[in-house]
């Protein structure tokens, strides 16, 4: 089975891209399973189930960050998709804090970025882009050729990944994604997270609400200098 992990900022067009991908997969009689991981609201699982009649599932990450939630549930999700006899598991996740990436080894990491989000976006999203296998740029029809080129150059400056420019709403250039899916490897166990997770949990994560570094321990940082560690 192949696993595709699709990440990208909210409203970047992940769902629209995956819709087009699913249409093309179904044409080849390949029925994927689809898992959506979001923070507090998602209805893509129902949309995909009713439109394509494929197995779908949705997970709210809740107190976990969505990327971490993805890593934790992915083991079960692969088993679930295998039990569905799917050749492909599509995972759509809303990576949010931009410090780690949801991609795992032996999978296809696909980041979806919208061309309208400003030329500097590629520099801002860290491992979601730099650890991806392919960057899909959506909504290319809405911006000038010049800005498209600047956006693309900024992606290349941030990461060594092939870029596919699409107008996913109209299914334009989805074929290039399909070629990559054709050629990608099958999942191998044990598979693990591709990048290094961020440096550690902070005391705010565990419930301390006071402001100011004096009230916290672990990895801390003052306004004017670099991070330091307080504690044992």
């Amino acid at each position: 089975m192949k696993v595709i992990v699709c990440a990208g900022p909210p409203t970047s067009g992940k769902t629209t891209v995956l819709k087009q991908v699913i249409k093309k997969l179904l044409k080849k009689n390949c029925v994927p399973s689809y898992l959506k991981i979001d923070v507090q609201f998602a209805d893509e699982d129902q949309l995909f189930a009713s439109e394509f009649n494929i197995p779908t599932k949705k997970i709210y990450s809740g107190d976990l960050c969505p990327d971490h939630c993805n890593v934790i549930v992915l083991g079960d999700a692969i088993t679930w998709a295998q039990n569905n006899n799917s050749e492909i598991l599509l995972v759509e996740t809303a990576g949010l804090c931009l410090r780690c990436s949801p991609y795992i080894e032996h999978s296809l990491g696909m980041v979806v970025l919208e061309a309208t989000s400003g030329a500097n976006l590629p520099r801002k999203i860290g491992p979601m882009l730099t650890l991806a296998d392919v960057a899909v740029v959506t909504k290319i029809d809405l911006i000038s050729q010049a800005e498209r080129e600047v956006f693309r150059a900024n992606i290349y400056n941030a990461a060594q990944v092939p870029v596919i420019e699409t107008n996913a709403l109209h299914g334009i250039n989805i074929d290039y994604i399909m070629r990559i899916i054709d050629k990608m490897e099958e999942i191998k166990e044990p598979s693990q997270l591709r990048g290094n997770p961020p440096i550690g949990t902070c005391t705010i994560c565990v419930g301390k609400k006071e402001i100011g570094k004096e009230s916290h321990f672990g990895v801390l940082r003052p306004l004017e200098s670099d991070i330091f560690y307080r504690g044992e």
Binding site: A119, S144, Q145, A146, E147, E149, P162, Y176
Partner: protein, 318 residues
């Protein structure tokens, strides 16, 4: 990279799939200016999209686009600096709020790979300023440009900095740019220009036009000598409308005598007594100016409005 000599559009189907293109192969040669015409919804934009994407039987139209009689190299799509097409769509816009000069410098740097681009940026601004009536403030923000300035800059950026061999322009007439001048200036650059247009002037200044209907290519018409001569008349009619618009914008009253003198001048360009035309020429297939308001099937709102305006002028004169 291989020099582009021509593009070939191999036929596909229109809307609903049962409506085939009537021309099997359309060849566009380097240096040509081509218009795509047809009513709204006739598939003009889809055709231009097919060209922009180097369709290979993978778009809804099932058309195929060849470069120099072969499938285009995949680097055209995989490497943006090698993509030979610049496409300016109806909704294309600048989103960057950088100052104009800085933005153009960044684009030039990406295109040319070095940062010494002042000359090419100046040329871009200069070209844009020739296309638009309002000079562009190079230190102003991109997003503060007017519609006409934006279009002019989009075009000149694609032509000069982008230096793309193939330029696709979707309905540029809707933004205030000098059309006749644009066509003249663009012809100085040896490229393939493809216009989606409702504008008679742009169409007749093209080498040929592709006629679209219900999503399919219906016909290919080469601009004939009489049509080329009619451009002057159309330009004069157009200029009259622009002049009236400017007078009204300027808070002035419109004098019917002024309109009469302008129309007499327009007529003189048809019957051959005006500048630039040949008295002995047969103009039988040139549309009769007096009947222009009777033209049936005026598909385009702009044309309909112009016809209405001219009709009103006639009433006024009578």
């Amino acid at each position: 990279m291989e020099e582009i000599k021509k593009i070939t559009i191999q036929s596909g189907v229109g809307k609903f799939g049962d409506n085939e293109d009537k021309i099997d192969n359309i060849e566009l040669k380097m240096g040509q200016v081509v218009s795509i015409v047809g009513p709204t919804g006739s598939g003009k934009t889809n055709l231009i999209n097919d060209i922009a994407l180097f369709a290979n039987r993978n778009t809804p139209s099932n058309r195929r686009v060849l470069i120099n009689d072969a499938l285009p190299p995949s680097e055209y799509i995989e490497d943006p600096s090698k993509n030979p097409v610049s496409y300016i769509t109806q909704h294309t816009n600048f989103l960057s709020d950088l100052p104009v000069y800085k933005f153009l410098s960044i684009h030039a740097k990406i295109r040319n790979g070095h940062s010494n681009n002042d000359a090419v940026v100046e040329e871009t601004l200069d070209f844009a300023n020739k296309l638009t009536g309002e000079p562009i403030n190079k230190d102003g923000s991109m997003t503060a440009l007017s519609g006409g300035q934006t279009r002019s800059l989009l075009i000149s950026d694609a032509v000069v900095i982008g230096n793309s061999p193939i330029i696709l322009l979707d309905e540029i007439e809707n933004a205030g740019i000098h059309r006749t001048r644009a066509l003249e200036l663009l012809r100085n650059y040896k490229k393939i220009f493809i216009f989606v247009t409702h504008d008679p002037r742009i169409t007749l200044l093209s080498d040929f036009r592709v006629i679209m209907k219900n999503g399919a290519i219906q016909n290919l018409i080469t601009t004939n000598e009489n049509e080329k001569k009619a451009v002057l008349t159309i330009k004069n009619i157009d200029d009259l409308m622009l002049e009236l618009r400017m007078l009204i914008r300027d808070g002035q009253y419109i004098n019917p005598q002024f309109i009469r003198s302008k129309i007499v001048h327009c007529l003189s360009t048809i019957d051959g007594s005006g500048s630039g035309s040949d008295k002995n020429q047969d103009f039988s297939d040139v549309p009769d100016f007096h009947n222009i308001h009777n033209v049936q099937n005026v598909q385009n709102v702009q044309n309909a409005q112009n016809a209405q305006n001219i009709q009103n002028i006639h009433k006024e004169l009578n």
